[in-house]
Every structure is written in C-alpha cells, then in structure tokens.
Symmetry: C2
Subunit: 431 residues, 2 copies
C-alpha cells in the first residue's frame, strides 16, 4: 500500500487522478442494440437476453407465482433486515417532502412552487456478482413516497431464468410489482422507448456497468431523463491520530471489494495512523472472500499524509468523493467545511456500509468527481417543482410597465402587447 | 388558423406531435469544434468568433471600461425596469432556500441533507435577433443567491466587437463581472474545458440554438452538467367561454413571435371562443413587427375545441407544455390537476410575458415534452443536497445486525466487517 508523505500542492492533480476509460468503442455497439430494441421491442429484448444473459425466456414479466415463490426462498432474518432498512429509508426520504409556500413577490403578484411526482419511472437493478436487493429499496422507496404512478423495474435474470428471490422480496416490500427480466443495454432501451411488455418511462434510475451507463447517457439525449452519470465507486477517509486503524482499514476495504477499478483513499494528519492502517489492511485483506478484487483495487489506492486538517479538507473538496468518511476528533467542524461530496459519514462509528444498507440515506451517489455538480438520488429526483403564478389588477399595474419596457428592449413586441392589453383594460376599469 | 372540433382521443398523439429535427448532421460538426477548443483554448475560440460571429477580437474578456460604457448607453427607464425585475426574481428565488433538518431515523442514527452551492457555474446568453438581458437576470440571480463562488457568463459579441450594453448592465446588476465574448459551440467548449481566459465550470446553464444545445449535450456526457435539454419554445392556453379572446390571442402570438418553429396551442371548451380568438389573431398579427415569423409559426399551431374541462386537463398533461396559461373561471381547480408543465399562469390577468420578465419566476423551462421529467431552473439547480449521517453506539446496536445480514446477502463481506468490527467493539464496551 502506497503511503505518500506531505505531497506538494502541485502534485495533487496527479495524485487524485481517477482511472479513465475510453468509451468510444462502446458507443456504436450500444447505439446498435438501442436501435434494435426501439425497432423490434420485446423480440429484440428476448434475443439479447439469450445472447448476453444466456437464458431463453418465454416472457419478460415476473408473474405472481415467481413473486410468491421468492417469499418462500428468502430467510426470515434477511426479510426482517430488509424491513428495517426499508422503514429507515422510508422515514428519511419521507422527511424530504416539499411543501411550497405562496410568495407575494409584490402586491398582487403571487408565485409558488409545487412538487409533482414524475408519472413514469424506471429502475435498473444490475445482476452480476451480487444480487443488489439493497438498491431495489434505495430506488423504489422514494419513488413510492413521491407518488410515481407507474414504477417499472428491470433486472437481468439468473441462468435459471428467474430473478434472485431477495430482489423480488425487496421489490414487493417497496410496493413495486412491475418487474421485468431484462438486463444491460436492452433493459435501458426497453424502458426508454417502451416495448409490448415494458412500459415507456420518463426517467431511468440505477447503477450498472459501462454498457448500461453508456446506454443511459444515449437515451438521455432525447428519450428519457436519467438520475446521473456514473463511474467506478470510491471512498475517501479523513482521519487523525484519534481514529481506529482497524475501522479505517475496514472502511477502505469495503470500497476496494466492489471492483478492481474502485478507489479507496485515506487522508490523514498522522503518519503513525497511516502506518497502522497499512498493517491492518494486510491483516484484514486475506480474511475476505473477495480479497483478489480488493488487492487489485488497493494497487491504485493511496494513504496520504498531510500537514493539517485544512489541507485534508482542501484535498477532499478537490477530489469530490462519492463517499466521505470523517474519522477525526472534531468531525462536526470538518463536516461544516465539506463542499464537494456525495454522502458524508461522521465519527468512528459510522461506516459507509451503514448508509449503503440501512441508516436511511440513499446509496445512489455521484462518483468520478460528479459530486461537484450532482447530488445523490433523493426524493426530489422523482419529482419536478412546477411554478405557478397569479396576478391581480393591482399586480398588473405594479409590474406591467417594466414587462412592457423589457419586452420592447428585446424586440419582442407581442410579449409587450400581451401585457399592454391587460394593463390598459385594468386602467380603463374594464377588468 | 386551424380550428379542430372535438377530436377523438385516438387522434391526440398526432395532434400534439411536435416538429422534430434530426440532429445527426450536427453531431460531428459540434464534436469537431469542441475538440478544437479543448486542444487550443483561447486561440480556437478567437478563431471561431472570427468565423461564426464575424468579429476579430483581441481578447475574450469584457473589461471595466466596456462595463462602464454600457451603463451610459442603457436608458434610465430600462435600468429601472431591470432593477424591478431583478428584485422580484431575487425575492422568489431567495424564498426557495433549503434548510435541512436532522432526522433521527432510529435512536442513535441521525441523517440530514445540506444544500451546498455548486462552486463554478457557466451561464450562456445567446445573441441573435434580440439581446436577451432578461435571461441574464434569470440565470445569474439564483447563482448569486446560491452562493456559487465562480460565475462565468459567455455571450456572442455584436458585429462591433462589443457585448450589447443591456446584457452587461443586467450582468453587473446581478453581481456577475466575469463576462466573456464567446458564442455558440466555442463558448460551451470554453466553459466545459476551460481555456487560458475562460475558467472551467462544473455546470452550464442557458438557452441557445440547435448548435448550442448539441454542444451542451455533448459536454454533459463527461465534462460539465447542464441545466436541461431543450427544444423550440411553446405555449398551451386553456380557456373557457369566460376568457378574453383578445388576451388569449395576444398570448398565442407572444409565443409565435419567438421563431417559426415555436408552438402555440389553444384548448377550449367553447367553440365560440375559438372563433373569436381566430379573428383576434388575424386582427393583431399585422400589427406586430415580427409578423412574418409569427405567421409562419401559427401554421403549425392549433385551436382545439374539447368536450369539457376534464378533456382539456388530460390533453394538457399529455402534451406537457413549457408554458401553460389557464384562462378559465375556475383556474385554481384546474391548477390543482396540473401534472406535466414547466410554468403555469393563472387567470385572465397573468400573461406568460409576466413570468418571462418580471414576476419573479424563472423563464428557463423544459420544452419539447421534457416537463414530464424535468423542472425549470430554480435555486436547487445551482446547489447539491449533500447527505450527512452520524451513528452512536446505540445506533450501531440498532442497525448493525441488519447491515451485516444484508451485506452478507450481497456477498460483500468487507462491508459486513466494517460494521461488525464496530458492533463488537460497542458490545465489548471498548468504544
């Protein structure tokens, strides 16, 4: 494990560089699959399921029998854990409900915002090495709270043609029953354009591999909004001498096990802590089932010793980590100085995995530096704030002349007339 | 003007179809200019300014002398109108400030959201047939309220190499002085990548022609977020027999004058009103300086007579208009049923032009049906909601077991360990 000791500021850019991938080769491949799904609907999706997921499906939709079977296959204690996580996610996201208050801007001019649910949303749950039932809760619970009328969930089937039972249990627990067996680019296409089976949606949420991300970006140009761009997952830990080296190492490893391109960075004011964390990493690593992945990821991870907390915060804000864990004595002071991060975990007893599963916050977060401009999924992500305004005759008198002058100044005479006709009618006592 | 009398629902899709453009030819052209700006910075921007805007500039930045001169060129009464508009926009957007409250999800697990300004934003103000100083206010005022540290504004210079003075007065009034003479694709590239003169930003706002929109979408794939996709502007008016035909016609015309591809639609329950509006359109049209543009736009506009208010609302929600004006006796009832719209104008005395300029709402809104998934620019557009969480030893006991079970269920053992180490330390009384 690399320990880097008080780097010069001029070296920060290189130190914080993320691994990049060239997506150019992907673009044509993805565009081809999307066009095929758009043109041929279910037939194309079924064909790609056979080709990419190696299953011959007779239909895409998960039926009641499969949901019922799933309930019998998931252990009771996991169901209870899902229920607890569900309830916490529900509580924190329900607290995000927005109630717009009317604002009388000037006498007779009242404006307000109203938060309205997006009618149709699509949730993508990847398959791959692990069944991501936690992501089902993270995406479906706020959609239900928002009041989205149509919630569609796509996930690739296992080799036996079935969806992992814990995914179905989490979906039903969240109130989502429109579940389809489709993965990858074909799933994104199905939700963006609609097929005979899969309803078209207005916005698509969820993580995925580089093919899925490329497909989401392509459909976002015209056909459906997306939650955010994405890249490999990442964590940055800020720690001082008071931190517990064993906890810090476990936090770095829980990022590193995600994939070989995951990034785990430690910034610390204590060279001693950096050494102890390096030792702990070596101790804990062999104990992990996914230690080969984690060891590979650690090769481009770094333990960086810095002069003081100010430098730590500057570097954290420059990196804009998806997950930021602050394990220092004065974590609340540092929390107040966070500018760029997706989600922040405070103190020695708040591991990222708490927020990944069950504390109530969302785990769908901006990676790859996108935290500079995006936030993670929250209740707002499923809604739009529509503005309303109402003007009385008094209001027309107050702002009418300014509107007319500005419209004239922009050479938009019909805009001017729309106000002038009303103002004159008001002044003549006709309305 | 087309009057369509009680169409069948099966005909709605065709009736509501928007004019579409194929952007494929644009993509390569735009990508070329963007790559050039990324590689050659200011030199490329200056070269494209000469080529596309026909001005030889010695530098991109607007200097103090040009700002000072602009103040002398804008008439006092327009300045007063700008001030009034500024103050109203400020008041309505400042009322949108968000204060996250801590939520104790379960005992010992506290989560909250904090709204943090995007540090660096770019505002694009088009040139073209009209100086859009109103858009300067709409984009810059919420950026200042949010507290964005670096606000960059790009706008194409006039043929004389200067920026329209009202644009500079509006910028200074809003507190923006980082103004650069750059238009079109080269401006978007300069802000997305940064050049020697133009700072790189994290998010780009503002309207533009199809080249600008294509450039915004291309940079949004990797380099900078954007406010929203866009298309031609549009208005839908809902009116009953109580509406004023002259006002309704003026509202339709104030959309039609924007451009030949603008859409203006009237839905009404009164065939008589439709006829009177058609007459008013013919009467008002010749009086407009931009009547040729408006006449062209009206060719694909429609006056649609429907059975009842329920049908009007259904069709409005199916169309998802950028601007929705409700001129009926019971406009508040209809307002409550709006699902898909950008901004809604209520009653006979609330023209779209009020919101375009000075009522306080934002005029940067989703067109082209994007109101199904996007809202207009608001204070949130300049901020991110970062989530924070803090867990005590009590909290670790409450949610620890569920986190460990779920992590194990997803085969993420390091995630499990990060919680298990803490829970065991808590149970052993060590922390």
């Amino acid at each position: 494990m690399n320990i880097i000791y008080i780097p010069e500021r001029s070296a920060w850019n290189d130190l914080l560089k993320r691994p990049t991938k060239d997506a150019k080769d992907l673009n044509n491949l993805v565009a081809g699959v999307l066009a095929d799904v758009r043109a041929h609907g279910d037939e194309a999706v079924l064909r790609y399921e056979a080709q990419f997921d190696h299953v011959e499906l007779s239909s895409l939709r998960v039926d009641d029998a499969e949901f019922a079977e799933a309930e019998t296959l998931v252990p009771a204690e996991l169901k209870e854990a899902l229920q607890l996580a569900h309830d916490n996610i529900y509580k924190f996201h329900a607290a995000q409900r927005f109630q717009g208050e009317p604002c009388e801007v000037v006498q007779g001019v009242t404006c307000w915002q109203k938060s309205v649910a997006i009618e149709k949303v699509g949730l993508y749950i990847p398959g791959g090495t692990a069944p991501l039932f936690s992501t089902v809760l993270m995406l479906a619970v706020p959609a239900k709270i928002a009041g989205c009328k149509e919630i569609v969930l796509c996930t690739p089937p296992q080799r036996d043609g079935k969806v992992h039972p814990a995914v179905l249990v989490a979906a039903r627990l969240s109130g989502v029953t429109n579940v389809f067996k489709a993965g990858g680019v074909q799933a994104i296409g199905a939700m963006a354009y609609g097929t005979e089976s899969v309803p078209k949606v207005y916005k698509i949420f969820g993580p995925g591999n580089q093919f899925v991300m490329c497909a989401k970006q392509q459909v976002s140009l015209h056909d459906a909004a997306i939650d955010m761009p994405a890249g490999p997952s990442e964590v940055m830990v800020l720690a001082d001498a008071s931190a517990n080296a064993s906890f810090v190492a476990a936090d770095l490893l829980s990022q590193a096990e995600h994939g070989v391109d995951s990034q785990a960075l430690l910034l610390t004011t204590s060279a001693d802590l950096a050494c102890r964390v390096a030792e702990e990493l070596e101790r804990q690593l062999p104990l992990l089932p996914r230690n080969e992945i984690a060891r590979e990821a650690l090769k481009h991870s770094k333990l960086i010793v810095l002069r003081d907390e100010a430098e730590m915060m500057d570097m954290a804000n420059a990196y804009a980590p998806e997950h930021l864990i602050i394990e220092t004595a004065d974590y609340m002071d540092l929390a107040a100085r966070v500018v760029n991060a997706g989600s922040v975990f405070l103190g020695n007893l708040t591991p990222e995995s708490a927020g990944d599963y069950a504390s109530g916050t969302n785990h769908t977060l901006p990676t790859n530096g996108y935290a500079t401009a995006y936030n993670g999924v929250n209740l707002d992500s499923y809604m739009r704030k529509v503005t309303f305004q109402h003007i009385t005759s008094e209001g027309v008198k107050k702002i009418g002349p300014a509107v007319e002058l500005m419209a004239a100044g922009e050479n938009l005479d019909a805009h001017r007339m729309a106000m002038k006709l009303r103002r004159e009618a008001v002044e003549a006592g006709k309305v």
